[in-house]
């Protein structure tokens, strides 16, 4: 860590250089985060995550393996969502940066999995640094550090990261920085009276473009907050931020953004991102957040539950922060920073109530809740500074008392964060995908050495097991077959191969019977798990015998068998 340079000030008090202190605080936050967020792969270095995780990895891996960033998707990835992409099966569903970032990490990191996993971790906790940066710039290093620390323990970001929604998380993480740049531009415009500092205008445009290219949701979040902030400051200064002296630069920044964004607009239109259906549900305006019931089956409770994100006494700090923000907005004379925070709060309210005026589903809004974390942890941290300062001012206390109270509250907050969310974070990330839910070394080797040597357009079918217990197994099995696809660079999936128009050669269809996990379940000491494993193994064997009785597999080792298509196969089992 950069050693903070100590300075003797004229009053004899030892003071630290704020610039060095800021670097040291940012470094400490980065170290805490990188240690915690890489826990899932510090000991098991195989990739993890749900299907989306493998999908994003597969595209970046494809770019680095062929040393070319092609526009169209390769066969084995295109078939994944084949038929859903209205632009065409082989059309990309994301602009290039996410996947090109993965490819860059693989190439420069010198390995296939670890550099991408490290990048994913960093891109998912980078909101910690974003919030530290803007809070410390506007309100001081202490609240900046506290806000960043809280975010490094945020369950919502962690779950999105673990599941593979990292492109959304990184895009949302840029929002605080983008709105900060816009705020700096607007305040310089109003305060300097000379057209404003154009560098901040171009920074805001570039940050918005980066968000747009990483994930549309982050861009939309910033756009809403920027609109609210612009209106709020226009009211505050009784003047619109567009006049003769800055019109040219505003137009230039808009054109620069459009030049970067326009070529990729059709991707978002093609995947339905540009679709906005209006629907009035005004009763939702009175509430806040999403209930676990709304996302049951899609996201775990922790993704939306308020008490999971803000455990212990954090809500007390939060409500104090909100109350003090409102108070300060009206009491502080130079209140542009408070207006910034208040606009952020109003913007988040609007974003999280999109479902009151549009047909937005809870799945999209659940991801948007990450925007709430950035703001709420900032307010939690600011309450530590604002509460003693405000009380001290009202009661006209000696300066030393509010200062002591500030550090006392900071210590209480740090203790609360570490003992609740911090401890849970360590346990959660250490245990994440630590069992059979991650692709096993056996399965990874099979994918690499056996599936990876099949013809390029081979189609590997993984039978779906019927029945109720099988329904649970389907969810367990799905990410595994997707990681097999990513590792082997061959299609592995559950789309039926029979009469499938996307298969160029039915003779290159293969059937996979993987008993390796089921064998572990069946040998479990827990009777329920054992019964579950035996039942599923029996069901899978029925399918195998039905399709391939008296047929030699092309591969048969370690409880995994692979068969090649034969003309006797007229149908395959379908999910029930």
């Amino acid at each position: 860590m950069a050693a903070a340079r100590a300075k003797d000030s004229s009053d004899g008090v030892l003071k630290l250089d704020p610039k060095l202190l800021s670097v040291a605080a940012a470094t400490a936050l980065f170290l805490i985060s990188i240690f915690l967020w890489t826990l899932p792969f510090q000991h098991n270095r195989l990739p993890f995550g749900e299907g989306d995780s493998a999908w994003h990895f597969a595209i970046g891996d494809h770019i680095s393996s062929i040393d070319k960033a092609t526009w169209s998707l390769p066969y084995y990835i295109a078939l994944w969502y084949g038929g859903f992409n209205v632009q065409g099966t082989f059309e990309p569903e994301y602009p290039p940066p996410n996947h090109a970032n993965y490819a860059l990490m693989q190439i420069l990191g010198g390995e296939r999995f670890i550099p991408v996993l490290i990048y994913r971790a960093m891109a998912s906790f980078i909101g910690t640094i974003a919030v530290f940066f803007i809070v410390s710039r506007l309100f001081g290093i202490l609240p900046g550090f506290l806000a960043g620390l809280g975010l490094s323990f945020s369950i919502r970001e962690q779950l999105m990261y673990l599941f593979g929604q990292q492109p959304t998380v990184v895009s949302l993480a840029i929002t605080p920085v983008a709105i900060y740049a816009w705020h700096k531009y607007l305040t310089s415009y109003y305060e300097d009276g000379n057209g404003g500092r154009r560098i901040y205008l171009f920074m805001a445009a570039a940050l918005l473009a980066a968000q747009y290219l990483l994930h549309l949701q982050g861009f939309l979040g910033s756009a809403v907050i920027i609109a609210v902030l612009t209106a709020a400051l226009a009211i505050r200064f009784r003047k619109l931020p567009a006049a003769k002296n800055n019109f040219k630069m505003l137009a230039l920044a808009a054109v620069a953004f459009a030049v970067v964004a326009a070529p990729f607009l059709r991707i978002y239109i093609g995947t339905g991102g540009g679709e906005l259906k209006l629907a009035l549900n005004l009763e939702k305006l009175g509430g806040w957040g999403i209930t676990p019931a709304q996302v049951m089956g899609n996201f775990p409770e922790g993704s939306v539950k308020f008490s999971a994100e803000y455990p212990g006494i954090l809500p007390v700090f939060l409500f104090a922060g909100i109350a003090l923000l409102l108070l300060r907005t009206f009491l502080v004379k130079n209140n542009t920073k408070e207006i910034f925070m208040l606009s952020w709060l109003i913007g988040i309210y609007i974003i999280l109530h999109f479902d009151a005026i549009t047909a937005s589903g809870p799945a999209r809004l659940t991801r948007m809740l990450i925007l709430e974390n950035h703001l709420f942890y900032s307010l939690i941290a600011l309450s530590v500074v604002w509460l003693p300062a405000t009380i001290g001012k009202i009661l006209k206390l000696n300066k030393a008392i509010p200062t002591a109270a500030k550090y006392f509250l900071a210590a209480v907050l740090v203790f609360t964060l570490i003992s609740t969310a911090g401890a849970q974070t360590q346990d959660r990330l250490k245990a994440a995908y630590g069992d059979l839910s991650r692709i096993t070394p056996l399965q990874a080797e099979f994918a690499q050495e056996v599936l990876g040597k099949l013809p390029e357009k081979a189609f590997v079918y993984d039978p779906v097991l019927p029945g109720q217990p099988g329904l649970q197994y389907r969810g367990f099995r799905y990410p595994k077959i997707r990681w097999m696809l990513a590792i082997s660079q061959r299609y592995v999936g559950r789309n039926t191969p029979i009469n499938n128009t996307l298969i160029p050669d039915i003779n290159e269809t293969y059937y996979l019977f993987d008993y390796s996990d089921l064998a572990v379940f069946a040998s479990s000491s827990d009777p329920g798990t054992q019964q579950f494993g035996l039942y599923l193994a029996n069901e899978l064997q029925k399918v195998e015998l039905n399709l391939f009785n008296n047929t030699q597999p092309v591969y048969n080792k370690d409880n995994i068998r692979l068969y090649k298509y034969h003309q006797g196969i007229k149908e395959v089992p379908t999910p029930t």
Partner: protein, 112 residues
């Protein structure tokens, strides 16, 4: 400026990078070290070439570069790769092009 021609405002950040790189090396050996350095070069270094002469202070330059770089650095490489046949060569070419742009481009960013 230091003897190596590095502006003093970046020195604390280079110290920070060194600490993070060492931590990553302890966790993931040479791969961790390479990944951290690569991330710094690609996500911070590339945009910083354009921002280094702006009126922003050191911290703002580093932070804006990082968050812009996450989305736009790889786009620069990707765009160059539309012309050049190799993605790997495009990484180097993107740096050369951005450096050239920073020298010859109109000084829109450099004023205030």
């Amino acid at each position: 400026m230091t003897r190596l021609g590095i502006s003093k405002e970046y020195l604390p950040w280079m110290g920070s990078l060194a600490v993070i790189a060492i931590a990553a090396a302890m966790l993931f050996q040479i791969t961790g070290l390479r990944t951290i350095l690569a991330s710094a070069i690609i996500f911070v270094g590339l945009p910083l070439i354009l921002l280094r002469k702006t009126g922003l202070d050191g911290e703002e330059k580093i932070m804006f570069s990082l968050f812009i770089g996450l989305g736009l650095s790889s786009l620069a490489v990707w765009t160059v790769n539309r012309v050049l046949p190799s993605f790997r060569i495009s990484i180097i070419a993107a740096f050369i092009i951005v450096a050239a742009v920073s020298i010859i481009a109109p000084k829109i960013l450099h004023k205030n």
